[in-house]
């Protein structure tokens, strides 16, 4: 299958290893992966901050870049959710709205694409360690992604998926919210992480680089040895 990868600006600039791993995993799963060079951002920071004209401009440019893609795969639940919201940015009956609807239909979050479209679960990955899963809010509540990533992790050799009662609690990132309200953002995260140290885990895994930056940033500040990992990074490890 020909897959166009939208890595997201955050993965591109802050966590390229997640994108590199996604490419490896998709190739391993038999996909012909391309990276449309014109891509930048989906417009989510402006959309969530109420700056709609700017969100529209960036979304339009995204739509042009991916207009001819057969299938778009995104290693981020929140960017995939943003793409699903794109049609709401454009006027009824406009060419852009039509294009946004078509693109929304062929866009898939990374784990969902593997499990639901390709039907793969075991990709021959090996990762030695105890891992908890963090359900990113937009993946969980906008895209209803819950069992897929867990099934993928369960198949990873030597990986022990540890049950975490706070796995579906918000990490407090919320994009610009994390900078606008740093104290509330971290209070939310600390409440989520309360139980984590008692679980004896090696890593928190998630499908969103934003959540991982938030969780890792806090764990690092607290000098914790627990690391953050993108699902793709685990699935690409051998």
């Amino acid at each position: 299958m020909r897959v166009s990868l939208f890595v997201s600006c955050l993965v591109d600039q802050v966590r390229p290893e997640a994108g590199i791993s996604a490419v490896k995993v998709l190739k391993q799963a038999g996909c012909d992966v391309s990276f449309p060079q014109g891509q930048t951002c989906c417009g989510q920071p402006a959309f969530n901050s109420g700056h709609l004209p700017e969100a529209c401009r960036v979304a339009s440019s995204f739509l042009e870049v991916f207009a001819d893609a057969e299938v778009i795969v995104v290693p981020s639940g929140s960017c995939a959710a943003m793409i699903s919201h794109m049609p709401s940015l454009f006027a009824e009956g406009s060419r852009e709205k039509e294009l946004a609807e078509a693109i929304a239909r062929k866009t898939h979050e990374f784990s969902s694409f593997l499990v639901n479209n390709l039907g793969v679960q075991n990709l021959g990955a090996r990762f030695a360690g105890r891992v908890v899963w963090h359900d990113a809010c937009h993946a969980l509540r906008d895209l209803h992604i819950k069992s897929g990533p867990r099934r993928l992790l369960a198949e990873v050799e030597d990986l022990e998926l540890v049950n975490w009662s706070a796995s579906d609690a918000c990490c407090g990132f919320g994009g610009t919210f994390a900078v606008k309200h740093p104290d509330i953002s971290v209070a939310i995260l600390d409440s989520k992480l309360k139980e984590l140290e008692t679980l004896g885990v090696d890593a928190v895994a998630s499908g969103d680089a934003g959540c991982l930056m938030q969780i890792e940033g806090r764990l690092d500040r607290q000098r914790s040895s627990i690391q953050g990992l993108h699902l793709a990074e685990i699935l690409a490890s051998r």
Binding site: P45, R57, R141, G174, D183, I184
Partner: protein
């Protein structure tokens, strides 16, 4: 003296709440317990999703024909002997209630729990008119004694610990110090019974108003609303226009959703269905029944589907209990009568965005509120809608310039590469200062993904 709470000071009020360890403890326990009970009640209800959808459709239909259903309700209520009053805003509603009291020479007033009376600041208005209102819901009574405002839609004193309540009772009611819940409740009961017996007038809220029959419904667990509406000779019920539902049979849907969402109960201890019929003066029960129907900004929300959905709200408080922001900062931080996610979307619509523009931004957009809402309000969608409206009307120039520059950089890959490489060379250009207060920032990777792609292909 502390400055009064205001939605304009969300940030500082939230900071204060985060530093209040007692409050943190109370909030965590209470919201956790509510959310857990709600979860269990919802899980045990197989048809939950279809009930929610049914409720949403009833609300949507009613709101699209609101004028008709309100007129039907008023006509039915009047036919059963109720005096119906229409109030455009809070001030008008307060005046109506004052006038009823004045005409009856009533000065002693008991109240059962009603967020709508909080919304119109009825107690303050009554005190100015030299009428003495006594709250009879235990939580409301506690915060009235403490001179505070509710911090939760269904649990107004959620921010207070048992110990704080005991101290308050010792101070205000001169009781012997105790932290036994039974003794504290008995103290309240003793004091409240006297007020019930002496009251000339009872004011209640309304959970549902049935157009078909002119009935109003009040759900509660303490029996105080039953007493408020039956002991005094005059009963006044205040309702927002959105409380009306078409048919009596529709209650079969809402009465299953509301208690489960609010407290995790299958049914509240008391469900009072009041259908007019005032009694002659020499018999027991009120001889005057009034219903005050309040707009106060609600009809302004009817025009658009996105804003109209907020009028579906049945004030269960479920969205507060599951909200990560509310769980941390509590209700007072919002500085508005209605706190939490639903407060952040209805307050700006009821009172205008000028002084409430911070509220829609007080959310991580996690969507837990939308999942918990029993009447299908897409609160994140509304938050985004309000954010856009606020930004288009009053954004700071610096923010507008920043997002313009950002969009300029994002629409052309060469500009994107140029700016990200600039930020890589001069990391201070990245607007992440406040991130670093309490988290490490990884910085931009030495090599971007696109560079890897280019190099490896």
């Amino acid at each position: 003296m502390k400055a009064p709470l205001s939605p304009e000071r969300f940030e500082s009020q939230a900071a204060e709440a985060l530093n209040d360890t007692q409050l943190q403890d109370a909030l965590q326990k209470a919201t956790g317990l509510f959310a857990e009970k709600r979860g269990a009640a919802v899980d045990a209800c197989e048809e939950w999703d279809s009930l929610r959808e049914h409720a949403r459709l009833i609300k949507e239909h009613t709101l699209l024909h609101l004028d008709e259903y309100l007129e039907n309700f008023a006509a039915q209520a009047e036919a059963s002997g109720v005096q119906v009053h229409w109030a455009r805003d809070g001030e008008e509603a307060c005046r109506v209630i004052e006038d009823i009291a004045r005409n009856a020479n009533a000065t002693r007033l008991v109240k059962s729990k009603s967020m709508t009376t909080e919304e119109i600041h009825l107690n303050k208005a009554l005190q100015v008119a030299e009428i003495d209102p006594v709250e009879t819901d235990l939580g409301e009574w506690i915060i009235q004694l403490a001179g505070e405002t509710p911090s939760h839609i269904i649990a107004p004193a959620i921010h207070k610990s048992k110990e704080q309540i005991a101290d308050l009772f010792v101070e205000k009611l001169a009781i012997e110090p105790t932290t036994e819940v039974e003794e504290l409740a008995a103290t309240a009961r003793k004091s409240l019974r006297r007020h019930f017996a002496e009251a000339d007038l009872g004011v209640s809220g309304v959970n549902f108003a049935v157009a078909e029959t002119g009935s109003i419904l009040i759900l509660e667990n303490e029996g105080n609303a039953r007493m408020t509406t039956t002991l005094p000779k005059i009963h006044i019920a205040l309702m927002g226009v959105e409380k009306v539902i078409p048919r009596f049979a529709d209650l079969a849907v809402f009465l299953r959703l509301l208690p489960r969402s609010g407290t995790g109960q299958k049914i509240t201890t008391y469900q009072s269905i009041l259908t007019g019929n005032p009694r002659p003066s020499d018999e027991e029960g009120p001889n005057q029944i009034h219903v005050v129907i309040l707009d106060n900004g609600r009809t302004g929300m009817l025009a658009k589907a996105v804003t109209r959905q907020a009028l579906n709200c049945i004030r269960c408080g479920a969205c507060l209990n599951v909200c990560p922001v509310y769980q941390q900062v509590g209700g007072h931080a919002y500085g508005s009568v209605y706190p939490g996610p639903i407060g952040a979307v209805i307050t700006p619509q009821l009172t205008g965005i000028e002084k409430t523009s911070r509220l829609p931004f007080a959310s991580s957009l996690c969507g837990a509120c939308r999942d918990a809402c029993p009447v299908g309000i897409d609160i994140p969608e509304l938050l985004l809608h309000l954010r856009a409206e606020i930004i288009s009307r009053q954004s700071r120039l610096s923010a507008r310039i920043a997002f313009r520059m950002w969009a300029w950089a994002m629409v052309k890959p060469w500009r994107y590469s140029l700016s990200t490489n600039l930020a890589r060379a001069f990391p201070f250009l990245l607007p992440v200062g406040r991130w670093k207060v309490n988290r490490s920032f990884p910085g931009l990777a030495p090599n971007s993904f696109r560079k890897w792609w280019k190099d490896s292909s």
